[in-house]
């Protein structure tokens, strides 16, 4: 498989310089011209200042991560040049304004060069605020990337059209000045793309996909407390709430958020909450209550670098043990872990289905990278044809002698009534209870009948775990069937692994990939089968203690033979994975 060359544009500056807007616009240049794209945002836990950057990568082929290397770097300030210029690859250029800083050519990698653009001069025509200079540079980069000014103009129109009229005019004017300035002096770089490669693609973050997927799956209620990188789920929902008929409740804390969602679900409305590790920690107790009361619930945990407050704007897969162990005692749960925006949409829908069918909490594990980075996709990737049933309008049969909300059944799933439905009144309780919901923790517990009842009720609930196991996504090998090495990863780390795989396979190296979209419960039999033929296995995981590796060993006895772990907050780069695979395979030869 030949891969077409990709094109990467990176822009860096300080928080407040409008870097994210510039970067997203670059990503959109790709998708508007019909290319696949990936946009990686790198910012800090500070509102102004510091150093932020955005990396936009495009390709005629599907891209799964930020890739490796930079072709066009726009350095808004000197720090950006210092930090990022070393990653320019052959034929690459750095755009900067010499009025802001000088950058001697000998500090650039060989085969790369700078292009000086007087961006401040161009923006000064309109304002003394240097932020406008970014648009001039954007114009310059657009030309260098091979795209027509029209595309950029349309993007600027979308970005600033709703603002005061002169804001748009100023941006358009400066952008055009930058474009024309370079057009007169330069040619597009060697890797530049041809315009109009195909129909425009969508560009979407994991959080937007999750939020939209939730609504598609029937969610009508979101209670959340802001926390990076989960906040934008609430932002998207809030922006569309009135239109879509969804209650979005910013709660006073995460304890309230999850308990509100449980209350709403109990009352018959599909409900979700979303947070990151610190907030998820506060939800642990209520998660167990959802398990005990058998209340459907979807909880998104978008992981960031821990422990504790850690690095709030950096990625990690450090919460697996937390999610596995959340809640005292045993109750059924599943943990889905989508690997890209399309899976994020679909698995959120699936999370709602599983939560409802199995009447238990379902966790959706995201992370900073998936939640906040941008990925291209097609309209067809987001089917909207599902019609979630109205829970209130279907009701279980009434029974003589009282409704048995927690009736023993072979599957463990019992008939559920909704408050407001006549004749099916019951009390849901966080204490242990019998089939009708009556407590057995008070005047009964310890008596022989209650001991048996308790055992049966535990077994009834835990049967649902086996049911869940048979319905969660199947582990499926990607790439060549028989391979020298099988890579195993979960969640968004699938992105750089897929890019690495493409490169390795196109180099003729037989490596394949087992992405886990569901980390709990594991389909032990299928997983064992998928791994049994692997000569070597490489676990790629973004945490210190190889948590998925531990879980696989715990559940299957299989110890993956090699590991590539990262815990510095940065995403995996495909090249790191490629290099590791080569090292592991070389070992074998020796």
């Amino acid at each position: 498989m030949e891969r077409s060359p990709d094109l990467s544009i990176r822009v860096g500056g300080a928080a407040g310089d409008g870097i994210a807007t510039l970067g997203e616009s670059f990503a959109r240049l790709f998708t508007r011209n019909g290319y696949h794209a990936y946009g990686h945002t790198a910012y800090q836990s500070v509102i102004r200042g510091g150093h932020v950057w955005f990396h936009a990568r495009g390709s005629p082929d599907r891209v799964w991560s930020q890739g490796d290397g930079i072709d066009i770097l726009y350095a808004y300030n000197e720090q950006t040049a210092e930090i990022h210029a070393p990653y320019l690859r052959k034929g690459g250029v750095m755009v900067h304004d010499p009025e802001k800083f000088q950058f001697p050519a000998d500090r650039l990698p060989t085969g790369t060069r700078t292009i000086a653009v007087p961006t401040l001069q161009m923006s000064r025509k309109y304002t003394s605020d240097p932020i406008l200079s970014g648009s001039a540079a954007m114009g310059a980069c657009t030309f260098l990337a091979g795209f027509p000014f029209d595309t950029l103009a349309a993007i600027l129109q979308d970005n600033f059209g709703s603002k005061k009229k002169d804001v748009l005019e100023q941006n358009l004017g400066t952008a055009e000045a930058g474009y024309r300035f370079v057009q007169e002096r330069e040619r597009p770089i060697e890797r530049a793309f041809a315009p109009n490669h195909g129909a425009a693609k969508l560009l979407i973050t994991g959080n937007q996909a999750i939020a939209m997927g939730a609504v598609a799956g029937g969610c009508k209620f979101l209670a959340q407390y802001p926390m990076t990188p989960a906040s934008t789920i609430m932002h998207w929902m809030a922006a569309h709430a009135a239109d879509l008929g969804i209650v979005v409740k910013q709660a006073e804390d995460e304890l309230a958020a999850i308990n509100m969602a449980i209350g709403a679900s109990h009352a018959g409305v599909r409900a979700m909450t979303a947070t990151s590790g610190g907030g998820f920690s506060l939800m642990v107790e209520a998660l167990g209550m959802a398990g005990m009361t058998e209340t459907p619930l979807v909880v998104v945990n978008s992981q960031r670098s821990g422990p504790s407050t850690g690095l709030p704007t950096k990625t990690e897969q450090g919460d697996l043990d937390l999610m596995l162990g959340a809640g005292q005692g045993d109750f059924p749960r599943a943990i889905l872990a989508p690997g890209n925006v399309v899976e994020a949409y679909r698995q959120t829908i699936e999370a709602f289905r599983l939560a409802e069918d199995w009447q238990t909490p379902i966790l959706l594990a995201s992370d900073f990278g998936l939640s906040e980075n941008l990925q291209s996709a097609d309209r067809e990737d987001f089917p909207m044809d599902l019609t979630p049933s109205n829970l209130f309008s279907s009701r279980p049969r009434s029974e003589n002698g009282g409704f048995r909300r927690y009736a023993y059944t072979p599957s463990g799933v019992s008939p559920r009534s909704i408050p407001g439905q006549k004749g099916l009144n019951f009390v849901a309780g966080s204490d242990e209870h019998d089939e009708r919901g009556h407590l057995i923790s008070d005047v009964l517990v310890g008596t022989p009948a209650a001991v048996v009842e308790r055992r049966h009720m535990m077994e009834k609930r835990m049967r649902k775990l086996e049911g869940l196991r048979s319905e969660v996504p199947m582990p499926m090998i990607e790439g060549p069937e028989s391979a020298q090495l099988t890579i195993v990863a979960w969640g968004s780390v699938a992105g750089p692994v897929r890019d690495a795989l493409a490169e390795l396979n196109s180099d003729g190296i037989r490596v394949n990939f087992l992405p886990l979209n569901c980390v709990f419960p594991l389909r032990v039999a299928e997983l064992g089968k998928a791994l049994v033929h692997a000569q070597k296995t490489l676990l790629v995981e973004a945490n210190y203690t190889a948590k998925l590796g531990g879980l696989i060993r715990k559940e299957t006895g299989i110890e993956l033979s090699h590991r590539l772990l990262k815990y510095d907050g940065e995403p995996f780069y495909p090249a790191e994975i490629v290099a590791k695979v080569r090292r592991v395979l070389k070992e074998e030869v020796n």
Binding site: T31, R32, L202, L203, M212, V215, A216, G217, G218, C219, F221, H240, A242, L244, G245, I246, V247, K249, A251, E252, D253, L255, A256, N259, M260, A261, I262, G263, A264, S265, H266, A267, G268, V269, M289, R379, M384, D385, L386, T387, P388, N390, L391, F392, E399, G401, G402, P419, G420, Q421, G423, L424, N425, F426, V427, A428, G429, S430, L439, D442
Partner: protein, 292 residues
């Protein structure tokens, strides 16, 4: 007749088929009777009532009435009740529990619920002690009270739930006494009728662990605001009354005000209870346009 009304058939709320497990003489018997009386008076069908509680002796209350119930975890009755109310605001939602549950571990939710003004009635069985955990100090225990956790006496100023409610913007702030279930029943009924968040703090003695704040203690001290010159529309006057403690302690309605409820202000609820609204994204493909 009431005594045998079964959970599933009673048209209005009555006793359930579970007998209360409280100690003989516990104040909470008076409270459940008052709730039952209030709901009977209002004649709300039993399946349209949801009673949500936390954990504690008092929080067992939902099991003893024939409505729907949710017996949640310690301190979280209010957020669970809030979620349920937002999901289906046609339901009559009552939150209930103890002083530890509501003013201790649940204190944060308490103040936020009141500013939020959801149409929920919150009945707190305030026995100034932790009953179910066998007698530690509670946030409303008086200074000097000797308990298992404070063998030399409490050294903290007690929480004043009435003052707190007034400061938080609650729109119906009242206090009742388990020993006067008729008066209490009226406070609860009026609280349910009130549009917005209603607090009914109830002196509900724990006869087992609180030997200080007994039925007698209250009988000797309580007086009714209804018979006094108090004007329940005057916030500052209500705050002043809330400070009364000692020889004379007021019960009754401290304050009530008319303010739109959260449900009334929430745009997504204009189309009726959420639970009856359609779900999903059918025909919403234009949503994707924002990602182009």
């Amino acid at each position: 007749m009431e005594g045998v009304a079964s959970k599933v058939v009673s048209p209005v709320v009555g006793k359930s088929d579970t007998k209360p497990t409280w100690c003989p003489g516990c104040g909470d018997y008076g409270v459940v009777a008052a709730v039952e009386r209030a709901l009977k008076t209002l004649a709300i069908p039993s399946h349209e009532v949801l009673i949500v509680s936390g954990i504690g002796c008092s929080s067992n209350l939902p099991h003893f009435l024939s409505s729907y119930g949710f017996h949640a975890i310690h301190g979280r009755a209010i957020p669970v009740a809030s979620g349920a109310k937002l999901a289906n605001h046609a339901l009559t939602v009552i939150a209930t529990g103890g002083d530890g549950d509501g003013y201790g571990i649940g204190g944060g939710h308490f103040i936020h619920a009141m500013r939020r003004n959801l149409d929920i009635t919150y009945i707190v069985m305030n026995n100034e002690i932790y009953g179910l955990t066998t007698g530690q100090a509670s946030p409303t225990s008086e200074m000097g009270h000797k308990t298992k956790s404070t063998p030399l006496g409490v050294i903290e100023h007690p929480i004043n739930p009435i003052a707190l409610a007034l400061a938080s913007g609650a729109t119906y702030v009242s206090r009742g006494f388990s020993g006067d279930p008729k008066h209490l029943g009226d406070l609860i009924a009026n609280g349910i009728k009130h549009r917005g968040f209603s607090l009914v703090d109830v002196f509900s003695p724990c006869v087992t662990y609180n030997k200080l704040n007994t039925f007698d203690f209250f009988r000797q001290r309580l007086y009714k605001l209804e018979g006094s010159a108090h004007d329940p529309s005057n916030l500052v006057a209500a705050f002043e009354r809330s400070q009364e403690w000692g020889a004379k302690i007021p019960i009754g309605l401290f304050y009530s005000a008319d303010r739109p409820t959260y449900e009334e202000l929430e745009p997504a609820l204009k189309a009726g209870p959420l639970v009856h609204q359609p779900a999903g994204l059918q025909g919403r493909e234009r949503l994707l346009d924002e990602f182009i």
